[in-house]
Amino acid sequence: MFRKLSPALAVLLVSSAAVFAQGGTKPTDPQIAHIAYTAGQLDIEAAQQALKISQNKDIRAFAEQMVKDHTAVNKQALDLCAKLKVKPEDNDTSKALSKQAADKRAELGKLGGSAFDKAYIANEVEYHKTVNGALEKTLIPSTTNAELKSLLQTGLKIFQGHLQHAEHLATLVK
């Protein structure tokens, strides 16, 4: 079902932040679980890169929080999937997200000092906007299992907090 969307998605992915399917066929719960888990994992990897490169105290504290929060939420998601016997299913959106994040990491890896800090936090703002938008408009409304839906709704609130935090930090990093 989800595969039918892939050509259109691929185009969207390359050209804009609209990584996620909109309208048309809905993703299934196993696919949604995979996308949400992947999105968290990618933000952890971005944070780990920041912890290797950045010397800025606020950026490092933010990155540490991203590792902690996304690890905790992902663990909760995996535990729930195990309980519900839902096997997260890889899909084109997860693959595209991973590819986009790998490209971003390569780009940021060439930077250092405040140039890195600014680029990292700007990307965190954009990334959280994209993922939160997808959760709100596509993934949560498409989720059929009530427990998974509730977990994603709480996750969304946490990630909306990350977005505000990142936006605030972006104004401080010069």
């Binding site: 929080q65 902690k68 905790a72 939420v73 663990k75 609130k157 946490i158 505000q164």
Partner: protein, 123 residues
């Protein structure tokens, strides 16, 4: 011997007087605390990235206990920077209220989480 005996009796009376004073003071204090309800501990639950509402009147001297039921750490940070309490995931943390007034607070990690403490003077 006589002098020593007199001296001992004298000291004894002084001690008795001091003890009586302490006793009267203690009774007075006890009376005061019996008339005023003891400072209370008020629980604020953090669940699903939300601070629960305080439904009782808070007074200076009371203690707030935040109970974090989420899987992520939170803070309760006064907007005016008077206090900053970290409440780790699944744990509790306390704050003794020292100043009357209205305090808006938020979580530094997730600034979309906000709360308010309205604190009346000590009873």
């Amino acid at each position: 011997m006589n002098v020593r005996k007199y001296s001992t009796q004298y000291v004894g009376r002084t001690e008795l007087r001091s003890a009586l004073r302490v006793f009267i003071f203690a009774m007075a204090c006890h009376g005061a605390s019996a008339a005023t309800p003891a400072a209370k501990v008020v629980e604020i639950t953090i669940d699903k990235v939300t601070f629960s509402e305080v439904k009782v009147t808070l007074n200076v001297g009371d203690t707030i206990e935040w109970v974090n039921k989420d899987v992520v750490d939170h803070t309760a940070t006064a907007k005016n920077k008077d206090w900053d309490v970290v409440i780790p995931a699944g744990k509790k943390a306390r704050l003794v209220l020292k100043k009357a007034g209205t305090f808006d607070y938020f979580c530094r990690y997730h600034p979309n989480m906000v709360g308010k403490l309205v604190i009346a003077p000590a009873k």
